[in-house]
C-alpha cells in the first residue's frame, strides 16, 4: 500500500468514526446466540478483534472492501475514536470465547466452477487462478451460545454488535451465524483472570508467574506476526504483575 492509499484510508476512517466521548466501563458478560456451527482456525475467537473489525467496517463503509487482505490497518489508522472495551498497555479486557460445545467435527468445503460464472468466456482454467477448484478442510464447533467476559461500555458494545452477522471463519457461506446477543452486567470482572486462571492470552511481561508460557497472539489483529509474544495461554494459572 503506497503513501497516497494510506492517506486515503486514514482520512476515510477519521471522517467515518462515529464513536467518540467518554466510556463507562463495567464488568459485562456478552452472550452471542448462534444459529449455525462456527468454523474455526484457532481454538478461540476474540471479542475485541470482532469489535474493532466492526468499527472499521462501520467507519470505512464501502471503502472497507478496497482494503488489502492481511494488512494490519491499525498501524496506519490508529484507534480513531473510543473503544468500547478497556485496554491496559494494549491488552484488551476481554476474555477469549467460551463456547457451549454440543458437537465438534470437521467438514470439507468444495469450491467447484459453475457455468454461470463464466461470463461468456469459452475457456476457463479451473486448475489455478480465480476459478481454481479446491477442497478445504475446516474444523467446526456446534454450540448454541458463545460467551465473552468483558470490561466495557455496554451501550456502545450493544450498538456495535447490532451489525454482527457471524463469527469465526467463512461467515460468508453461513458458518457462525449470530441470531441475537445479550449483554449482562456482572458483579466481578472476569475479562482477564477468573479464579486465578487466564481468560485470554496475557503477555509474560504483565505477569509475575504462569503455569505455562508459549508464543501466541495477545492483541488484535490476532493473525499478525507482530501481535505474537510469549504469553500465558487461556486456562493457565497466572498471577498478574502489580
Amino acid at each position: 500500500m503506497d503513501a497516497a492509499e494510506q492517506a486515503y484510508f486514514r482520512n476515510a476512517f477519521k471522517s467515518g468514526v462515529r464513536h467518540r466521548g467518554d466510556m463507562h466501563y463495567e464488568p459485562l458478560r456478552v452472550t452471542l446466540h448462534l444459529g449455525a456451527p462456527v468454523a474455526l482456525t484457532h481454538p478461540w475467537v476474540y471479542l475485541d478483534s470482532i469489535i474493532k473489525h466492526l468499527m472499521l467496517v462501520n467507519a470505512l463503509e464501502d471503502n472497507f472492501y478496497l482494503l488489502p487482505a492481511k494488512f494490519p490497518m491499525g498501524k496506519i489508522l490508529g484507534h480513531g475514536g473510543s473503544l468500547p472495551i478497556k485496554h491496559t498497555s494494549g491488552l484488551a479486557h476481554s476474555s477469549a470465547s467460551i463456547f457451549e460445545i454440543k458437537k465438534d467435527g470437521m467438514e470439507t468445503i468444495y469450491k467447484r466452477f459453475e457455468d454461470r460464472w463464466a461470463g461468456g468466456r469459452r475457456k476457463i482454467n479451473i486448475g489455478s487462478g480465480h476459478f481454481r477448484n479446491y477442497m478445504m478442510s475446516t474444523v467446526y464447533v456446534s454450540a448454541p451460545t458463545c460467551e465473552f467476559y468483558v470490561f466495557g461500555d455496554k451501550k456502545l458494545l450493544s450498538k456495535i454488535l447490532d451489525s454482527l452477522v457471524g463469527i469465526g471463519d467463512n461467515t460468508r457461506i453461513g458458518w457462525g451465524h449470530v441470531r441475537s446477543f445479550e449483554i449482562e452486567q456482572q458483579q466481578e470482572d472476569w475479562s482477564i483472570i477468573k479464579d486465578g486462571r487466564a481468560m485470554r492470552p496475557i503477555p509474560k511481561k504483565m505477569l509475575t508467574s504462569s503455569s505455562e508460557y508459549l508464543r501466541m497472539a495477545w492483541r488484535s489483529p490476532y493473525w499478525a506476526a507482530d501481535s505474537v509474544d510469549v504469553c500465558a495461554p487461556p486456562g493457565a494459572e497466572v498471577e498478574l504483575r502489580g
Binding site: 482456525t41 484457532h42 481454538p43 467435527g105 470437521m106 479446491y134 475446516t138 474444523v139 501466541m216
Partner: protein, 219 residues
C-alpha cells in the same frame, strides 16, 4: 476382532511375501521411516525378517514437527529395537516455515543419490493405495520416484489393517493420532508436517490451528 479375519491375515501374509521377495532380490535394502502409522507398521513387519536393516528418518526440523513428537519418533523406533539414521537439511532452520520443497531438493535430489552410491539398491516405503488416487496410480504402475527401487509392503492395506496390526502387536504409535483421530477420523488421520504452507490449500493449517495451537508460533 478384525485382526483375526481372513482378509487381514491375507494382507499380512502378502506383505510378508513382498518383504521376503525383496530381501532375496536386493543386496542392500533400507527402510524409510517417517514416524507415522504406516511406516511404523511396515517397520514392524520388515524387522521380523531383517532386524539389522538400516532405518532412515528424514527430520523436517522443529518448525514443522513439534519437539515432543520428534522425541516420540525416536523413542518409538528405539522401543522397536531400531537405532535410526537421521538425516535433515539446514534449510529447515534457515527458512523456518518458508521452507518449501526442501524434501524434493535435498532428500530426493541429494540424499538418495548418495545412498545409492553407498550401495543401497532398495527401499521399503510405507505407501498405501488407499491414501490417494495419485498413490494408487503410482503403486499400480510400480513407479519408483527415486533412483533406488521402492518396495511397498503395505500397499494393499486399509487403514483398518494398519490399526489392527498396531493393536494386535502392541506397536508404539505417535500421540498425534490420539489428538487428530477423534476429530479428523481414524481413517483420515495422517502424520504430516504441521503448519506447512505446502498443505495450506487443503486447509491443513486451519486444522492444525485448532488441534496443535500450541505449535502455531514456534520460534
Amino acid at each position: 476382532m478384525y485382526a483375526e479375519s481372513e482378509e487381514y491375515q491375507t494382507r499380512v501374509y502378502d506383505a510378508n511375501m513382498l518383504i521376503s521377495n525383496a530381501l532375496k532380490q536386493y543386496n542392500k535394502p533400507y527402510l524409510s521411516f517417517s514416524g507415522g502409522k504406516d511406516s511404523t507398521v511396515m517397520m514392524g513387519l520388515v524387522l521380523l525378517q531383517m532386524p539389522d536393516i538400516m532405518v532412515l528418518h528424514w527430520d523436517y526440523g522443529r518448525f514443522y514437527i513439534p519437539d515432543a513428537l520428534r522425541g516420540e519418533i525416536k523413542a518409538n523406533a528405539k522401543a522397536m529395537g531400531v537405532d535410526l539414521r537421521i538425516e535433515t537439511s539446514p534449510k529447515y532452520e534457515e527458512l523456518g516455515r518458508n521452507a518449501v520443497n526442501v524434501l524434493g531438493n535435498e532428500m530426493m535430489k541429494k540424499l538418495i543419490p548418495s545412498l545409492a552410491e553407498e550401495g543401497y539398491d532398495c527401499v521399503f516405503v510405507g505407501l498405501r493405495s488407499e491414501e490417494s488416487a495419485k498413490r494408487k496410480r503410482r503403486i499400480s504402475a510400480e513407479r519408483s520416484i527415486t533412483i533406488i527401487n521402492e518396495v511397498w509392503p503395505v500397499r494393499a492395506w486399509t487403514w483398518m489393517d494398519i490399526w489392527a496390526y498396531i493393536v494386535a502387536n502392541d506397536i508404539p504409535y505417535l500421540s498425534h493420532y490420539d489428538v487428530y483421530g477423534p476429530m479428523v477420523g481414524w481413517n483420515l488421520a495422517r502424520f504430516t508436517t504441521l503448519f506447512d504452507p505446502e498443505f495450506d490449500r487443503l486447509g491443513c493449517s486451519s486444522v492444525d490451528g485448532i488441534l496443535s495451537w500450541r505449535f502455531r508460533n514456534v520460534k
